[in-house]
């Protein structure tokens, strides 16, 4: 079982810290990224604050679609955002220390005034691999690999 957390200082949302390896950005290294768990997001995305503080990307890289292999227009309730799609591996750590590794892609958000303060999101490309349980009363969140 993988255990996330709630953090009242950041609002009422659930979070999960995950290891992410993005060969085009981090090389063979893994970086820790704390994601908001968002069952409304189709895809996992890392927004600029985490791209800078966790992945070591620079603002100029995040602002310019040139240099990224693929750009996707994402749509949210707040409007459209450009994302740069690149291959990534995710390492989700069970409470017993074992790791669930999932291969796929990550969307990295283009840096704009509107995205600079957005949290990174775990979406359905990862969540579909898990039995997701959220208990609003305690509150608690756990994921168990299907």
């Amino acid at each position: 079982v993988i255990t996330g957390f709630f953090d009242p200082a950041r609002g009422p949302h659930p979070y999960l810290t995950t290891a992410v390896s993005i060969p085009l950005v981090t090389g063979p290294q893994w970086a820790s990224v704390t994601f908001m768990v968002d069952t409304g997001a189709a895809h996992t995305c890392i927004h600029p604050l985490d791209a800078i503080r966790s992945l070591g990307l620079q603002p100029a890289q995040l602002a310019d679609p040139e240099g990224w292999p693929k750009t996707i227009q994402g749509r949210g309730v707040g409007g459209g955002v450009n994302y740069f799609e690149i291959p990534a591996s995710y390492g989700l750590v069970n409470d017993d220390g074992s790791v669930e590794v999932i291969e796929g892609h990550v969307w990295i958000g283009q840096l704009t005034p509107g995205t600079q303060r957005m949290p990174s999101l775990i979406g359905w490309n990862l969540l579909r691999h898990f039995d997701l349980r959220i208990h609003g009363g305690r509150p608690s969140i756990t994921l168990e690999r299907i």
Binding site: D7, A9, T17, W30, S32, A41, L49, G56, P59, Q116
Partner: protein, 83 residues
């Protein structure tokens, strides 16, 4: 599946950083509302409402945003987020 995954920073370090922000959030909210704040060894070394401007301030201080400081956006509006 057991796989060797050792992220930087470690999950324990991430949790420690989060506890630091939580313990000091009210103070930062009074002093740096709606700003990005960078902290090194418990001291604020840079703050700015613009992430790019904060990055350049850290560059001027020869500080790496990934390894030398902890950065957080301080806001009273976290509970109004609709994604």
């Amino acid at each position: 599946m057991a796989t060797l995954v050792r992220p930087e920073p470690s999950f324990e370090e991430v949790a420690e950083i989060r506890r630091y922000w939580d313990a000091n959030y009210e103070r930062f909210l009074r002093e740096y509302p709606e700003q990005f704040v960078a902290v090194k060894d418990g001291q604020v070394v840079a703050h700015d409402p613009d992430l790019t401007a904060l990055f350049h301030k850290l560059q001027d201080l020869k500080l790496d945003p990934r390894t030398d400081v902890a950065i957080e956006f301080i806001s009273a509006e976290a509970d109004t987020l609709i994604l």
